[in-house]
Point group: C2
Chain length 323, copies 2
């Protein structure tokens, strides 16, 4: 059976909207924000072979396509409202679409983020989601978390664990083998990242700055430092990582945690005096948060180990245009 | 020279924002709406070979990628605010990017619509733009134009001219030849459509319903009729078309005007009593507007010619998943 474009939209991607004034089916969707709040928005485009492997189960791909966008909202402390999905498909594959929609909507429902529009077309597989959220204005004292707010003396924190997604990628690339239960665990980290939406919102008014870790910790930290005009010291032994990753050689652990990519954890800084508040907020959000270093007045990024000895920075950030 | 992802963004797509609270360079962009107004948003994804030919000059492609999105805002009567651009490129091609950015920003500036974020990645060429605008709420009496507002007795209008884009496509397909000045004219219609942004906004409070004509007049009219629960009669001889198209055989004229695709004109209905207001609004927006038929209580779409004789509807709508 060949489904046309409009049948495809109506079969897989049409659900009644609850929050939006108008969902899909018109030229635009219409959405009301909380009075006085700002719109927060971000787009991420996912391409096969770059952002996901052809082996990914469609349900997980649906989850991930939205998760990476929700992670951007989380990094700003924004409350998710809605999203648009633009989808290029080589052909209408109903098994793919059924699974994709299931994973997509499961995560959307979890975060009260509804599909309000988008586009479908024939073409090489490409998933582009634009997410819409809202944050109070800065004048409220609990405005958006920005990359530019870090100050010398802040403690640097990261949520969850780093590096499992990269470890899974190394297995897919044939660079190493893992027992199947270990592989399943890290593969899930790669294919079904959990955006830290509740944590991000709870950090408003507590943290000074935040960014989501999508291209590897060091690369993203550099963006934060540059935007804030500060430096940082990171204890590479303090980086939170799974038991599976800890069982690997130290050099691989460091590559995966420092320059892994696809972590979708929050990297943020908060004044030392807010340490108890950070712990409380993390407990409330149900997410582990680990202090991993500090923000320094002196520009530049310094890596040390648990003994305080310098560690050479030989780790590059992931860049979609570099091999 | 190989540019990395971040260099590419900073070189071609970073400009200071004027209206947005925060533009690109953070996890999200932040945007304030006019108090009480609604966000209007739409995404369109353009794929080579489907939405544009490899022969399109990059500057025109930059224009068109934004134009098709602005056309969706126009159809809702929304005021453009900002857009996000997600771009997959096979490789970093500086000639392409320079031209693309020039065309994109020229149109963006014309409509006061600023680039506030997006994504770039390596992959088969794909352009996905999400446009953000705003409209007053319905309670204001001049809320968004919707597809669902057409009422029996309304006059049906279309802006500009129909069919030139399709005629150009037929030349590219080798189905016919045109003198070069004629070809240039229709090619420009295909590659540089003018979104009817001013007209759309001016029609709020005047028109009952609107849709943009992107998939061919008949296909889009059917969406409007379905959403409104009404029928229509269209005089196919009244459809506005260029002198170039009028020089073609009548059957081709009808295919191009009724089922051409890529017109990006506004199709709208307004009560007969508003005819003078429609003319005034069109004159103010500097766009021709032509009455082409009427909205009927009886469901279904009837085509007639200038003599009133029935015309058989043998014209399909363009569908991205059908050949």
């Amino acid at each position: 059976m060949v489904l046309g474009e409009f049948d495809l939209i109506s079969r897989y991607f049409t659900r009644p909207v609850r929050r939006a004034v108008l969902g899909g089916g018109d030229d635009c969707a219409l959405l009301a924000l909380t009075p006085g709040w700002l719109l927060a928005t971000s787009s991420d485009m996912l391409v096969e072979g770059r952002h996901f492997l052809p082996t990914v189960p469609p349900e997980r791909l649906g989850h991930k396509a939205l998760a990476v966008n929700l992670s951007d909202l989380a990094a700003c402390g924004a409350r998710p409202l809605a999203f648009l999905l633009a989808l290029a498909l080589p052909r209408v594959d109903e098994v793919f679409l059924t699974g994709f929609a299931r994973g997509l909507f499961a995560l959307a429902d979890e975060h009260g983020c509804e599909l309000i529009g988008g586009d479908t077309t024939q073409g090489p597989l490409n998933l582009c989601i634009t997410v819409l959220g809202e944050v109070p204005p800065a004048a409220s004292g609990h405005g958006a978390l920005l990359r530019s707010g870090a100050r010398a003396g802040d403690v640097l924190y990261v949520s969850g664990q780093l590096g499992d997604a990269r470890l899974a990628l190394e297995v897919f690339r044939g660079h190493l083998a893992l027992p199947s239960n270990h592989f399943e665990a890290v593969r899930r980290a790669m294919e079904q990242p959990q955006p830290r939406v509740a944590l991000g919102q709870a950090l408003r008014g507590v943290a000074h700055s935040a960014i989501d870790v999508s291209d590897g910790l060091l690369g993203d930290l550099r963006h934060l430092l540059q935007a804030s005009g500060v430096g940082a010291t990171v204890d590479v032994d303090a980086l939170p990582r799974s038991a599976v990753l800890r069982a690997q050689p130290l050099a691989l652990q460091r590559t995966c945690t420092l320059a892994g990519g696809d972590d979708y954890e929050l990297l943020f800084s908060a004044p030392a005096a807010q340490a108890a508040a950070v712990r409380a907020v993390a407990a409330m959000a149900g997410v582990a948060v680990t202090p991993i270093g500090s923000i320094d007045e002196q520009p530049g990024l310094r890596l040390c180990d648990a003994t305080g000895a310098d560690v050479a920075d030989v780790f590059g950030a992931f860049d979609h245009f570099k091999p």
